[in-house]
């Protein structure tokens, strides 16, 4: 019997074993594992976000472009709904009874005690009908919310639009601050300046119990913040100019970019075809967005920013400036219009200097200019010489802001392409290509792509004789002026005199006898325009027409770059279109005798097609 007493140790050991297991487990969940603390905060802490007033957008003249207007949602708290007169309710709202049932069920599934939207974006008659009768429908309420509205129908692409944040957004850490149902800028300036426009959300932490009912401020409001309204954006866009540009581009595909070369401020920015920005706000946004997305004309595609085309003859200016700086040609260098490798567009006077060459857009001349630039005889092997020369050439070309993001204040900008020796090495193999492979670059054709915005920037550089500010839309965020990156002057390593040498030829393009853009002349109102036409070869259809220029030639105040798809020769459509914009901007109106242009230019691109190639 005595030895049974030893069993008390077994019993005590069992007691202790359980206690040790508990102590270990408790140490783990209480001290080591932090996830329970987070879960506890998730349980009880409710963030109440006060959405600040979104910043407004003004044009160059200080007039309102984009503002907020209240839209109204009909909310429902399922638990408070009592004896609902479905028939009357549905009749007031013109709502099918099935929709009401489905909506109530969805609301119940979300929460019985929290308000959820039953009918979002009430129309004005709906609002009027239900508001007066709300007393009879306990559990229902109207909630005002801000939506964007647009004062004008212009510049949809640059403005972008605002829409509800999607679940896909919410998963990304960048959007951690947003809540489901919040609005955010989805494209354009609305997206780029989202941080500034949205202001600072106010967050209040409330403790809630298991049923979601508030139980007071968390730690006496220690962590609460107040909301701060968003900052306004002041754009450099000239609304009148923008409106005219959009009108002139009607019926066509292409882009127009006008900027002030002295500041880099964008004055007009057209992507054609365009759409009414009011389409992408308010009730039915999603449906209308899909409609625009499916449109074969691709109105949502932001061409000046995202479409890269070969620049065509306009690029001859860049090549000439580089060659002048390299010292391989002078302004008085003459070449023969010899039609050897490249043909010229037409028969013309011999290009005995750069002025004539530019005026006549002589292809053989600029072919020889680039050959002089590239083939410097630095190697006995022609292939090696071409590679060395092309590398040099590219290094200079990218200084013009090409093959890189210019850094405009819009999202989605494309870099474009300026080919490097490696580009051709990959295609043909090292030392298996020479200058004859790349010669089309000399006239801006072939393996080269730039955006409409980059084209405008090239002209701004020439207008400034060698420097530029990054093109931008926003002159001032609130009262703070433009973003810091738009206050930095970029200076090219090319002497101003080399740019100066281009200008007389560019003026002759417009005002010289037999210039390619005589139609664009503003000499009759005393404005000297300098520019260059281009006709971009297009193997898929009619050639594209381009023109890029600035005015006045000696003190440029505006740069315009026009690109019209499938409109053939640039001098006929793009150039007069650009000059109308210059005249409008510089003089405030278009001279009466040019009004016919104003009414003729809008329309489909094929009306400009002349059959002369």
């Amino acid at each position: 019997m005595q030895y049974l007493e030893g069993r008390k140790f077994v019993v005590m050991a069992i007691f202790l074993a359980v206690a040790v297991v508990f102590a270990t487990r408790l140490f783990y969940i209480q001290v080591l594992d932090g996830s329970y603390k987070l879960a506890a905060d998730r349980n009880t802490l409710q963030r109440i976000v006060q959405t600040p007033y979104r910043g407004l957008i003004y044009d160059r003249a200080g007039k309102l472009l984009v503002q907020n207007t209240p839209v109204y949602d009909l909310m429902v708290v399922p638990r408070e709904v009592k004896t609902l007169d479905t028939a009357r309710f549905c009749q007031l709202l013109q709502l099918p009874v099935e929709d009401l049932r489905a909506g109530l069920l969805a609301a119940k599934t979300y929460s019985r005690v929290k308000a959820s939207p039953l009918v979002p974006n009430l129309s004005t008659p709906e609002l009027a009908a239900i508001q007066d009768n709300l007393m009879d429908f306990p559990g229902f309420s109207i909630k005002a919310r801000m939506a964007r509205s647009y004062q004008d129908t212009v510049m949809a692409h640059a403005l972008g639009y605002v829409g509800p944040v999607t679940p896909a957004h919410l998963e990304k850490p960048k959007y951690a601050k947003y809540l489901a149902g919040d609005n955010l800028g989805i494209s354009g300036l609305e997206s780029f300046y989202e941080q500034q426009l949205m202001g600072q959300r106010g967050v209040q932490y409330r403790m809630v119990n298991v049923r979601g009912i508030e139980k007071g401020a968390f730690r006496g409001g220690e962590f609460d913040t107040l909301s701060r309204a968003g900052q306004d954006l002041h754009l450099s866009i000239d609304r009148e100019l923008q409106r005219l540009a959009e009108k002139l581009m009607a019926g066509k595909r292409g882009s127009v970019v006008a900027l002030d070369p002295k500041t880099g401020e964008i004055l007009a920015f057209v992507s054609a075809p365009t759409y009414n920005p009011n389409k992408l706000t308010g009730k039915g946004l999603g449906n209308r967005y899909m409609e625009l997305l499916r449109n074969p004309e691709r109105p949502l595609f932001d061409r000046p920013l995202m479409a890269t085309y070969p620049p065509g003859s306009v690029f001859k200016l860049v090549n000439e400036a580089i060659a002048l700086q390299a010292g391989v040609v002078t302004p008085t260098t003459g070449f023969q219009c010899n039609w050897k490798l490249v043909r010229c567009t037409h028969r013309h006077e011999p290009p005995n200097n750069v002025n004539i060459a530019i005026k006549q857009s002589c292809n053989p001349y600029f072919y020889q200019v680039m050959r002089a630039m590239v083939m410097r005889g630095r190697s006995t092997r022609k292939t090696e010489d071409a590679a060395l020369g092309l590398a040099d050439w590219r290094q200079q070309v990218v200084n013009f802001g090409l093959a890189q993001h210019l850094g405009v204040d819009l999202p989605g900008e494309r870099m474009g392409l300026i080919p490097s020796p490696n580009f051709y090495n990959k295609q043909y193999g090292k030392n298996h290509w020479n200058f004859r492979t790349v010669y089309s670059l000399s006239i801006g054709q072939g393996e080269i792509g730039i955006t409409g915005l980059q084209m405008a920037n090239i002209l701004a550089i020439i207008a400034n004789r060698g420097w530029y500010y990054t093109p931008h839309f926003v002159r001032s965020v609130g009262k703070q002026g433009p973003l810091p990156q738009f206050r930095v002057q970029h200076r090219l390593p090319i002497e101003p005199r080399h740019f100066e040498a281009l200008v007389p030829g560019m003026q002759e393009v417009i005002d010289g006898r037999g210039g390619t853009a005589n139609l664009a002349s503003l000499a009759d109102v005393g404005i000297s325009v300098a520019g260059k036409t281009g006709t971009v070869q297009n193997y898929h259809g009619e050639d594209h027409a381009t023109f890029a220029g600035f005015a006045p030639a000696q003190d440029p105040k505006i740069v315009v770059a026009v690109f019209i798809e499938n409109a053939g020769f640039g001098g006929l459509s793009a150039a007069p279109l650009a000059s109308l914009l210059m005249e409008k901007y510089l003089r405030g109106n278009v001279a009466p005798w040019r009004k016919r242009w104003e009414s003729w230019l809008p329309g489909p691109a094929d009306r400009f097609l002349s059959r002369r190639h």
């Binding site: 019993v11 359980v18 508990f22 408790l26 969940i29 209480q30 009880t44 809630v208 007071g216």
Partner: protein, 425 residues
């Protein structure tokens, strides 16, 4: 009867101190669990709240304790079987006259007070089996004695299961520890433990794996102990067959024998994300409350999980959550240390009894408290299935406080008179 002064000296004051400390801490936590920051207490005797009612219950236990200690210790011995009989009748009666409360038919309503006879079945059964144990010797392997003992132990829990209070019935399993101390074969404990392990493994591990492993074990036994192969082949094979049968029977048991809610409680133990809004919710929220307490806790009345009703049954079965949230690991360790100290002290007191009755009863007390302690805390931290039994001395509730107090103080009464026992025998 000896003088009150001498009697008071012979009371085990260590146990009384531990008991008082636990009841006090328990009340503080009940107060915290039912405290509402919007309606701060105007009076501690506010009967709208559990802490007010619990204070009354605590007050009445003082009277109860005095009565228990004043009653002649021999009465517990003498009337054990009578009490047992009354209790059985009461349990049967309750089953018929009780109004269902959450599916359970075990509550008697006497005016404003609700009592659960099942709570009192514990100490009465403990008295009865101790009394019976005093007259037999488990070591003698007398099957008749063992059968009667098993009957005495099993009848009350069967009646309680009948009244849909499975949790309270499981407590009677704890008596096995006391019987073990009195000479029951350790094989029974080992077999039960093995069965439990096999059942849990069968739920966690693919069945064919288990069959392979157990078959391998059998073959290894044969290989290394040829004597088993030669002389005990039938036994070895039947053990193997029973084990394999259990592995496959577990599904049947799980799906057909257990109620839906019972099955869920076990499923949740294995996989807390099963049934996240039902039983899983309770366990998850309970763990969140305890886990969020950290090392030193959020402070008295500062718990958010318990206060805002995330934890269900927060002042009764889940009172440990309040301890964990507001007092942290230090608090939960204090509770565990107190329980281990109390259990140790009870074993110590039991061992110093000279009568088998006293000693068995002491072990019964320790076993019952231990069972409540391990299942209740185990369920709040996800180590045991959710079984609705209270944490002794801590949980809100008159029935449970009274029954645990009675359980403990009968032992102290018996202990206080052990010197007289010495004189008598």
């Amino acid at each position: 009867m000896s003088s009150p002064a001498r009697y008071s000296r012979s009371i085990d004051w260590v146990t009384v101190g531990l008991y008082a400390l636990m009841v006090l801490l328990g009340w503080l936590n009940v107060y915290a669990a039912s405290y509402s920051p919007e309606a701060p207490a105007t009076s501690l005797l506010n009967f709208e709240f559990n802490y007010g009612k619990q204070l009354v219950w605590i007050g009445t236990t003082v009277v109860l304790i005095v009565v228990l200690l004043v009653i002649d210790y021999k009465a517990y011995d003498t009337f054990a079987f009578v009490l047992y009989g009354v209790m059985i009748v009461l349990l049967i009666l309750t089953r018929f006259i009780a109004r269902p409360i959450a599916g359970s038919l075990s509550w008697l309503e006497l005016g404003p007070v609700r009592l659960q006879p099942a709570e009192f079945a514990k100490f009465i059964t403990a008295l009865a089996v101790s009394r019976y144990m005093a007259g037999i010797n488990l070591r003698n392997q007398n099957w008749r004695d063992q059968l009667v003992l098993a009957g005495l132990t099993l009848l009350p829990p069967l009646l309680i299961v009948w009244a849909n209070e499975t949790g309270q019935a499981l407590v009677f399993g704890a008596f096995l520890l006391a019987y073990f101390r009195e000479g029951m074969s350790p094989l029974i404990l080992l077999v039960l433990a093995a069965a439990a392990i096999i059942l849990i493994l069968a739920l966690l591990v693919p069945k064919l794996w288990l069959v392979a492993v157990f078959t391998l074990i059998l073959l290894l036994v044969f290989a290394f102990n040829t004597r088993v192969l030669r002389h005990h082949l039938p036994v070895a094979l039947s053990v193997w067959a029973v084990v394999i049968g259990m592995v496959f029977g577990v599904d049947y048991f799980f799906n057909s024998v257990l109620h839906d809610y019972q099955r869920k409680r076990i499923e949740v133990l294995i996989n807390p994300s099963a049934d996240p809004l039902g039983v899983g919710w309770n366990v998850t929220q309970s763990k969140i409350a305890i886990g969020s307490g950290g090392f030193a806790g959020k402070g008295f009345l500062q718990g958010t999980q318990t206060k805002f009703d995330f934890v269900p049954e927060q002042s009764t079965d889940f009172i440990f959550c309040t301890v964990g949230e507001e007092w942290g690991w230090l608090g939960t360790m204090t509770v565990i240390v107190l329980f281990v100290a109390l259990l140790g002290r009870i074993v110590y007191v039991a061992e110093r009894q000279k009568s088998v009755f006293g000693r068995t009863y002491g072990y019964c007390v320790a076993s019952i408290i231990f069972f409540h302690f391990s299942i209740n805390i185990g369920m709040t931290i996800g180590l045991a299935p959710v079984v609705g039994i209270p944490l002794p001395f801590f949980s809100y509730g008159g029935s449970s406080l009274w029954s645990f107090t009675t359980l403990l103080f009968i032992l102290l009464a018996i202990d206080a008179y052990r010197k007289q026992d010495l004189e008598r025998y």
